[in-house]
Amino acid sequence: MRPWSKRELLAYLDRIMPALEGLDHFELLDVPPDADDKTIQGAFHNMAGGLHPDRHRNVLSPSQHERLIVVYARIAEAYRVLRSPEHREKYLIDEAKRRKKTTTTVRAPQEIASALALLSPKAQQLYRRAIAAKRTGDTASAVLNLRMALAKHPQSGFLKEALKKLR
């Protein structure tokens, strides 16, 4: 299996890093939810062949390589869980619970308005973009926008909570 080019690799990292927390194991391994053992092993081999950190040692800067190891370690974890029927079943149950929990706890509208008022106009704009992205199902952009907002207000409990819910 051919290692990815540096360009492919960096584009992938830029795309995946902001969304990493929001991706589930199937998305990380890039397999459909009903994938069988063979598909899962094949997908892992494919990804490992392309982006394993050993194949890109020092082709990347140390910080880029570090990011690659972080992403690869998550893909390995996804593989560990999905290849075992027992782990996979437990994971699906936990995921369902987690999703249910995050959609039932909703803040009151006036609470949101007052929390928003404390933020800078730019951060408010980013928050609105995140909510809009979330509605269209684009979790990755939602997370990215919230993170950018959070960068402007690192202490904001409101934004932190919103990000946590999104994850």
Partner: protein
């Protein structure tokens, strides 16, 4: 940019080499031997003797000659198996900081990584002489079942020897790489690695250039050394019976018997019967040296080691079961390590797998071959980066690194292979009531990162201690404690209200890092686990390497100065340790009162 070599740092023997486009070249000593004894001899007169020249000194200068250091590396001296191993070593081993073993030879106190570093330095120098290039990086192999502290000790040894340890590779994985590299095969192979000190068994899937470990297991303290010990015991009891002299309490006598035992074992590989006289084992009351006559048949030898061999087959059975494979799914069996030369081992192995093991491979050299290939591959990626501006065209077409082991009738495919290795043991986290739960089960792919949520066991608990274990048992104390991590200042709340996010990260060298975060306060602690028995690099004594050409007086002065510095360091370390111990007790108490 210097040379990147592969090193098989073995319990009894070591091999080092470099991968070249023509194949792997192994470093030979002046007599042409490619296998070097992992022995260091420090004669009373000064200097050091290494490798095969040091091996003969095991008999002539036993108290100054260190061997089998690998059995002690990264070990807790107080562990029962380590105590047992120490009992059969003729050189004294003491307890140092953090319960690490300290080897004492000729008044010099050395940590085990320091001793292993001498072996590594010897190999490095052989490579540098032979390949006429400076060696900078190395891939060092370790038994697959090596624990965190053993791995850290090995890395430390490499560092002391002035090597950049590019990677620790598991020995069976390296052997499989040497076996399958450049042959673009689609096979499942079993690697049976029975060496001088340890036994490992791994099953791999080779999918053209990807080498994925499906399962591995092994036993530490199961190797050729143990078999020698068994024969030595047999000779000792023979001596006791016929001559009424018991050599067992006499270390020098037992040492001579183990040297004879190794020769007898090797003789029995190709002969049905061994017999003769061993001279000069002890000196009797009248000042005469005593010899012992012995006779040992292959059958008797087989019945002596049968238990050991069955243990290895049990491990094979367990690994196969854990991977969901059957014996018939294995395409080839690779034998590694000198103990696979024992006829009974070969016989049981071919019976169990219902096929003859692969014989085209040299069991002493195959691991170093694999290590050298991996070193070249990792360095190859380095070279790419060193071409200054790396264009994407170049990255798209990486230079093929072609250093397969050429064989008759086969063309090497070359290219970069990829090793996908696994954790050899289950990593666990302590839970309430003396139990533990698995966090990353054995045979998990590495590098890997897993995060999970935990909570407090009591109301208003302000502190949690995350204890990490290694092993397969539910009860905490039946596993090996790797270390612990503390998270403090947890805000008051009901039992189970706190959300503690714990992350286990296993790095490519298979060393565990643990991180804990309180999700409500965002407090975070990250730590490398403090492992008992692991080398403590800051405190331990260093040996003094005197420059050549000094007068006796100058040398004595330098030695004295060094000794003083060492004593100071030791005192300081001792103080710090006592302080840390005190603090630990205090904290444990605080927690108790906080929880109740």
């Amino acid at each position: 940019m210097g040379l990147s070599i592969g090193i098989d740092l073995g319990t009894t023997n070591s091999v080092a080499g470099v991968a070249t486009p023509e194949g792997v070249r192994l470093a030979a000593d002046s007599k042409g031997n490619r296998v070097h004894a992992s022995v260091v001899s420090l004669p009373a007169g000064g200097g050091r003797i290494l490798g095969n020249s040091a091996k003969v000194r095991k008999a002539t200068d036993p108290s100054q000659t260190i061997y089998s250091a690998k059995r002690l590396i990264g070990q807790n001296v107080r562990a029962p198996l380590v105590q047992l191993a120490m009992a059969s070593l003729p050189y004294p081993v003491e307890e140092g900081n953090n319960q690490q073993p300290i080897i004492v030879v000729g008044g010099r106190r050395m940590t085990v990584p320091e001793v292993s570093a001498m072996v590594l330095t010897h190999l490095r120098q052989l490579c540098e002489e032979q390949f006429e290039e400076e060696v900078t990086g190395a891939v060092i192999t370790v038994p697959a079942n090596f624990s965190d502290s053993q791995r850290q000790g090995t890395k430390e040894a490499g560092r002391i020897a002035g090597l950049e340890v590019m990677r620790l590779v598991n020995e069976p994985t390296a052997a499989a790489l040497a076996y399958g590299y450049g042959r673009s095969m689609d096979q499942r192979v079993a690697v049976f690695d029975f060496g001088g000190g340890t036994f490992d068994f791994s099953v791999l899937k080779i999918d053209s250039d990807i080498f994925e470990v499906l399962g591995t297991d092994g036993e530490f303290f199961l190797g050729g050394d143990d078999i020698d010990q068994m024969i030595a015991e047999f000779l000792a009891s023979q001596m006791n019976r016929t001559l009424h002299i018991d050599p067992r309490p006499i270390p020098t006598a037992m040492n001579r018997l183990s040297i004879a035992a190794e020769q007898i074992k090797q003789y029995l590989t190709s002969n049905e019967e061994a017999g003769g006289t061993i001279d000069g084992i002890v000196v009797n009351n009248s000042g005469k040296s005593v010899s012992v006559e012995f006779e040992l048949s292959r059958d008797k030898f087989d019945s002596m080691i049968e238990g050991y061999v069955e243990r290895t087959i049990d491990v094979c059975r367990n690994v196969l079961a854990s991977t969901g494979l059957e014996v018939k799914d294995i395409d080839d069996v690779i034998m590694v390590g000198g103990s696979t030369r024992i006829p009974l081992v070969r016989q049981r192995l071919s019976e169990y797998f219902a096929k003859e093991p692969a014989t085209r491979i040299n069991p002493d050299e195959v691991v170093a071959h694999g290590a050298a290939i991996q070193a070249a591959m990792l360095a190859g990626a380095v070279h790419e980066g060193e071409r200054g501006e790396l264009t994407d065209e170049l990255a798209d077409n990486p230079m093929p690194i072609d250093m397969g082991i050429p064989e008759e009738g086969e063309t090497s495919q070359g290219g970069a292979a990829l090793l996908l290795d696994v954790t050899p043991a289950t990593l666990r986290i302590a839970t309430a009531g003396g139990y533990s739960e698995p966090f990353l089960e054995k045979n998990s792919p590495i590098p890997i990162e897993r995060t999970n949520l935990f909570t407090t066991a009591h109301a208003n608990q302000s502190r949690v201690v995350i204890e990490c274990y290694r092993g397969g048992a539910r009860r905490q104390d039946e596993n090996e404690l790797l270390g612990s991590l503390e998270l403090n200042d947890i805000p008051p709340g009901d039992r189970g209200e706190a959300e503690i996010e714990v992350t286990f990260r296993v790095d490519p060298d298979c060393i565990l890092h643990v991180r804990a975060r309180d999700l409500r306060t965002e407090n975070e602690v990250e730590a490398k686990l403090n492992v008992i028995g692991a080398p403590v690099s800051d405190n331990f004594r260093t040996t003094l390497d005197l420059p050549e050409g000094l007068s006796e007086k100058q040398a004595a002065k330098l030695r004295q100065k060094h000794e003083k510095e060492q004593q100071k360091l030791e005192k300081k370390a001792e103080k710090e340790r006592a302080k840390a111990e005190k603090q630990r007790v205090k904290m444990a108490k605080r927690a108790e009162t906080g929880e109740s």
